[in-house]
Amino acid sequence: MKPTSVPYPVKISFFVLIAVGFGLFHISALLADSGPADQAPGRMMAQQATKSGEPWITTDHTRHAALKKPFRSGPEVTKACLSCHTEAETQFHQTIHWTWKAHLNEKGDQMGKGWYSLNNFCISANKMADKGCLSCHPGWGQKVESTNCLVCHGQKPIKWDEAFEDLNAFLQNTNDAESKEMAAEIQAEIQAAVQQVARPKRQNCGSCHFYGGGGDGVKHGDLDTSLVKPNKALDVHMGADGQNFECVRCHTTIQHKISGRIYTAPAYTHRKSLIEDDLTSKITCESCHSATPHKAGSKANDHTDKVACQSCHIPEFARVNPTKMSWDWSKAGKTKDGKPYKTKDALGKEDYLSIKGQMKWVKNVKPEYFWFNGSIQSLTAKDAIDPSGTVALSHPMGDRNDKGARIFPFKLHRGVQPYDKIHKTLLAPMLSGPDGYWQTLDWQRALSKGSQALGLPYSGEFDFVNTTYVFPTTHMVAPKEYVVGCTECHVPAGSRLANLAGFYMPARDNAGIIDTFGWLLTIGSLVGVALHGLGRIVTNGNGKKKEL
């Protein structure tokens, strides 16, 4: 039957199609407004989450009377800050930035750099008895009493200890006009610095975190002074020519507790995006980028449950400044003409110091990869070790069966450091001060004083042991053009993930029998198709009987 008119339902469908098409046109126009149409959704989400402009404040600190008075000491400055910010110090004194105290480990020992935790750089702060370490404690001078708020909030660099010492010295000379003039100059500088406060900037956090381990880029391969004014090629988030994020953009803070610490307990207990919870911490990549950040259908989205974003997006760390990759304390103590000496390497970094030993500095370092569930297990000065092999002073927790674990990039720092031959424990030498190794070059004295400060026994017999210490790599996120390519992992030889065993990874792993069977199947199929085609040609048809 030949239809004479369009059926009614079809007419409706036609109009519905037009309406849908019109709607889609509008949606696509809206998407075009919010960003390029070919952008990955995770990138668009992050741009939405961070699109607000410059942060703003409701006070001008130069106009506060409390900050205009003459100051004679650091604690007087703190008192002035607290006259308005009444709860700030109470809050801050609860945080690890002040206490240097982390959690108790499973044995009940106190973790934290001010306690029994160790590393393979300067090893220990000896329960804060090593005063050299206090240069990074946010108090005034070497006292752990009153908070120096300006370490984190001050925007005008000033050497506080020196300024107050000189000010007070000049003020004692009341009869000398020159001294009075210099005192007035210093006081003006102090007041200007006190009044110039703001949310912490990169140089505030960096004044300690870029210099961890006693120098620029010593500890962290992904944190050094190149991040004070980075470009986008170094870090897509912090680049001054890009998003220009300050540290606190991601390290969000509640009552002075700053999110993102990851050395022992997890930096986060769950991964949530801002869509799931608009008040969630922004510390994970997923917070802003979601768990499926790439374009729909992209194979990369299939990786995010097992591979951390950082593994692909941080191909190398220490891309501008070198970082220290090893430190051998056993080589310390050599002298030339009876005096300590130091040498520099091709990168211009000190690679030997009599007071510290042998170091190795490297630039553009490819990370090492481990399964990581967000926790790191660390040894303390109380833990027994097996000195016959390399001691993992800290190592990431998690394996491929752990649902919360993903493959994560790390800087692995290798050390050689002293241990007690009798007690089989790692030792924490006192380094600075009159009894410290840096002045005496006397291991016995330094180890005795260091153990004494920690309240731990020392047998008097020591040797050196190889150790490793891990740092998760999460800064210096490269532009997408430089991400780790598929074939840097999925290759049989030289894979970045060569050390991760116990699971099958396409192209990296193979089994002879399966490979042979696969090839036979493929070749057999090709031969079959070829023969079939040939048969068609020979029979001159498609196999169907021709109609008569």
């Binding site: 000189d166 000049f170 020159e178 001294s179 210099m182 100059e185």
Partner: protein, 114 residues
Amino acid sequence: MKSGIKSVLLTVLLVFCFSAAATAMEKGNDRKGKYAYRKIYKSCQARGAVGSSVPSISPADKTQAQWNQVFDNKKFDEFGCKEEWSKLSDKEVIDIYTYLHSFAADSPTPAKCQ
């Protein structure tokens, strides 16, 4: 014979003069010297002659013997900011010398300007 005596006397006189100069320098005020030194570069930056108010040369950049040599010969060209250096009083120069010498590379407490 007379010329020999003259030479000896001249040498003694010269040694005395240099010793006196060195003694005068040692009596400077290192704290004042530090601020006088910094003030040079603040002023120099203010008139646009240098980019930074931080002195480019730190006390720890030279040994005490090298600082002695610089100030004995009064060769201040390497410091830059000639205008400011030329305006310094003798006392200020001695204070600056005392500061740089006290915190030289081979002093007990070497100092950097940063």
